[in-house]
Symmetry: none
DNA sequence: GATGAATGAGCGTTCATTCAT
DNA sequence: AATGAATGAACGCTCATTCAT
C-alpha cells in the first residue's frame, strides 16, 4: 500500500467523481457504494478488490478502469463519505430558531447522523489509522467541511449577542466537542459495550446518552 | 489438509499472560512490545508477521511458538495495551483532594495518558474496526477496567455529599464523556487537523484543548 | 483472519470437470496432467504446488484459479485418473468371444493397464492412505466404475449358461480378485522385488506372472 | 526428504534396534510404537515429528537422540513392522498337517494378519510410494522374510509328493498371490468399499472374502 | 537422558494488478 | 466498457532440525 503503488495516472474517465444522479445505478456508482461498505467494514488493507468487484456484479478490471487502483478507489470512497456527511447541514435552518434550541437541534442532528451512519465513522477511523495520508489528496475536502464551522460561528455570535452564550467559546473547539461526543459513541461502541456491559445501541441507553451529550454541550456554552 | 484449521491454542509457555518485568528483555516480551507498535501503526491486517519478527530480532517461528498465530499475538498485544492503560489509575490518590480538584486531576491525567499513548488509542480503534471481536476473548479485560468506574462512583458520591456535584450524574456516562473527549483528540487528530487547519499536537492548541475538556466536564457535573 | 477458512469452492471455470480434448493444451489441462504425475509420484502431502506450477509452465496462482486449492487439484487429478482407467473397458468387445477367451482377455487387459499405468495405481494407493477421504467428494466416481461390474456379470452369466463357469461365483468378488492380482504387482513391486530378489519388471518375470494371474482366475471360475 | 537429509551418522545409542522386551516401556520403545502409528496413518511426509513426540510424552530431542532424524525413525518403524509381521510364521506348525489343510491354514492366517494389522499394510504402501528407497537400507529385511518362502517351498514339495498339488507351481509366485489377495483387501478397502458399495470390514463380507481367497489359492495349486 | 527455546528454509495461499480480446 | 486469464510478490504459517542447559 505504500511503495507498491506507483502513481496510477488513471487515464480513464474520472468524470469529476460524477455525482450526477444520472449515473446513479451505473457501474461506477455501484462500485463506489460497495467500496464504501467494504472499506468501512474492513479497512484499507482488509478490503478486497475481488470482493468489491464480486458484490458489485462487475469485473475487477472495471475498478481499475474507473479508479486507477485500490488506493484511488479508497480515496473516492472517502471523499464520497464526507460529501454525504456534510449534506446534512443543508437541511438545517438554524436561523429560524433561538440560539439554545438551535444548538440543541444541531447537536442532536449531529449525534443522530453519526449513529445512523456507522460506515462514515468507520471510514474516518480507517483514514486516521492511516494518519490522514489519503484525505490530503482530496482538495475539495476542506471546502466540504468548512460550512460546519461557519454555521457554529454564526450561532455562537448570535447566542452571545442575545446574552445566552458565554462569549469565550471557540467555535472550532465547540465543533470538536460535539464531534467527539457523537463520534465516540459509534466508534468505540464495541469495546465500551463489552467492557462496561452497557449496550450503546439499546434504545433507552441511546436516548439517555443523546440527552446527556446535548446537555453537556449546552452547559458548556451557557452564559 | 485438515489439521491445518485446528484452533491455534498456543500450546506454548504463556507464562501467566503478564510477563513479569524480570522477563523484560525475553524474546516473548520483545515480540509483544514490537507487536503493539506494529498493530497500532498498521492495524491487524496491515501489520506483518515478518516485520514484527525482524524488528524483534527474533525468528518468525518464535511468534507462533509463543502466541500461536497472528490473531493470538494481536489479542495479547491488545490485552497488554489495556493493562498498561489502566495502571495509571494506581497512581491516583483522589481521596486526598476535594471533589472538584480531584475530578480536575482525573480528567487531566486521562487526557494526558491518551495524548502520550497514541499506540493505545490506535489499538482500541483497530479493535473497534473489528467490532470488538477479539477483546471478547480476553476474560480479564472487564476486571482490568472496572476500577475506573469505581473511582468515579466514589468521587461523584463524595461530590454530591459535599454539595458541589449534581446528584443526577451517571458515573458510567461521565466516564464515557471523559474518554470520548480525551480519545477523539488523538484518534481523529489527522483528519481534524487537516480539515480545520488546526494542529492538535501544537503545544498551545493542546493546552487550550486540555483546559476546555476539563472545563466541560466540570461544568457538566457542577451543582 | 476469519474469511480465510471459507470453503474454497473454486469459483472459477470448472468447465464441466471433463476438459474436452479441444482444451488439451490449455493451462487447466496442463496443470491437471502435471498434477497426476506429481501426486502419484509423491502423494498428497509430498507433492508441491510450486513444482506443479513450474512444470506446467504456469503461474502458481492459476492452480488456485482453476482448482481452488491443493486439495481441489488432488481431487481433480484423482477423478481424471479413474476416468482414464475405466475407459479401457470401452475397447473391450467381450461379446464376440466365448466366455473363457473373453475372461482371459479381460484379465490380461486389466493386468496390462495396471502395469502400463503405475501413476494410476499410485493415485489409488495415495487415496487409500487418506482413507478414501477425497474420493467421496467425487459424485461421478461410482458411475464411472459401475460398468466394470456389469461387464463381469454378463460374462459370468454367459459362462454359467454355457456350462463353462461355476454358478456360484460372485462378480464383485471376482472383480476384486482380478484387481488385487493386477494391482499388487505394481503397487508392491518395490518391496517385493527387493525382499525376494525377483525383479517384477523384467520381461520374462512379468510375462510369467501375467499368465499365472490369468490362470488363477480361470481355475477359480471354471466349472 | 530427498536432498535435505544429510547422512545422519546417528552418533547415538542405536542399540541394534533394541528389541529386548526389557526396554518395552522405555522412551525409545514408546517413540517407535507411536511412530509406526503415525507413519502408517499419514505417510512419511504426512507424519509430524512434533506430533510423534507429543503422543510419546517425550521431548522432540529424544527422537533425534535415538533415531538420528525423521528418516531414521521411519526406517526403524518400517523394520519393526516387518519384524512383527514375520513372527506369525513362528506360530505355524504346518508339518503337523496334511498339505491341503496346511495351505488352508497358512492362507487363512496370512489373510487374518493383514486384516488385523492395517498399520503394517499402510507402512508397506507408504514404502512403495517411496519406491522402496528406505527398505533397501535395512540389511536384515531379506533375512526376516526369507523363511516365508522356505515354508511354502516345503509345503509345495510335500503336496506334489503326496500327489495333491500340481508340480508346476512356483512357491514365490504362490506367495505373491497369497500376499496380493490378503493385502488388497486392506490396502484398497476405502476406495473399493466406496466405489462398489460393499463394506469390506463387515463381518459377513469379510468372512466370505476370506473363504474366496482360500478357495482361489487351493484351486490354483490343486493337482 | 531430557528439556525448552531457537532457527531457516520452504510451503500453501492470497491479492493487487495487468493484458489480450 | 467489459471479461477471463495470467502474473509476481508477498504473506501467514509449518516443520525438521539444532543447541544450550
Amino acid at each position: 500500500m505504500t511503495a507498491k503503488i506507483t502513481k496510477p495516472a488513471s487515464k480513464a474517465p474520472r468524470k469529476k467523481a460524477a455525482p450526477a444522479p444520472a449515473d446513479e445505478d451505473g457501474t461506477r456508482s455501484r462500485i463506489l457504494n460497495v467500496a464504501i461498505q467494504e472499506f468501512s467494514r474492513l479497512g484499507l488493507s482488509g478490503a478486497r478488490i475481488d470482493e468489491i468487484a464480486a458484490e458489485t456484479g462487475a469485473n475487477k478490471g472495471m475498478i481499475y478502469y474507473y479508479f486507477g487502483n485500490k488506493e484511488g478507489l479508497y480515496v473516492a470512497a472517502l471523499e464520497e463519505s464526507y460529501t454525504r456527511f456534510r449534506q446534512i447541514e443543508h437541511g438545517f435552518h438554524l436561523d429560524e430558531l433561538p440560539p439554545i434550541p438551535a444548538l440543541r437541534a444541531l447537536v442532536g442532528s449531529t449525534f443522530d447522523y453519526h449513529a445512523q451512519h456507522p460506515e462514515f465513522i468507520r471510514m474516518v477511523m480507517t483514514e486516521n489509522i492511516h494518519n490522514g495520508e489519503y484525505i490530503r489528496k482530496i482538495p475539495t475536502l476542506k471546502a466540504i467541511n468548512k460550512p460546519a464551522i461557519g454555521l457554529l460561528e454564526g450561532l455562537c455570535a448570535r447566542g452571545v449577542e442575545e446574552g445566552v452564550f458565554r462569549p469565550d467559546v471557540d467555535p472550532v473547539d465547540l465543533h470538536m466537542s460535539i464531534s467527539a461526543l457523537s463520534f465516540y459513541n459509534v466508534s468505540n461502541q464495541h469495546t465500551f459495550s463489552f467492557i462496561f456491559g452497557r449496550d450503546l445501541k439499546a434504545a433507552d441507553v441511546h436516548a439517555k446518552r443523546r440527552e446527556a451529550v446535548i446537555d453537556m454541550i449546552l452547559r458548556y456554552v451557557r452564559a
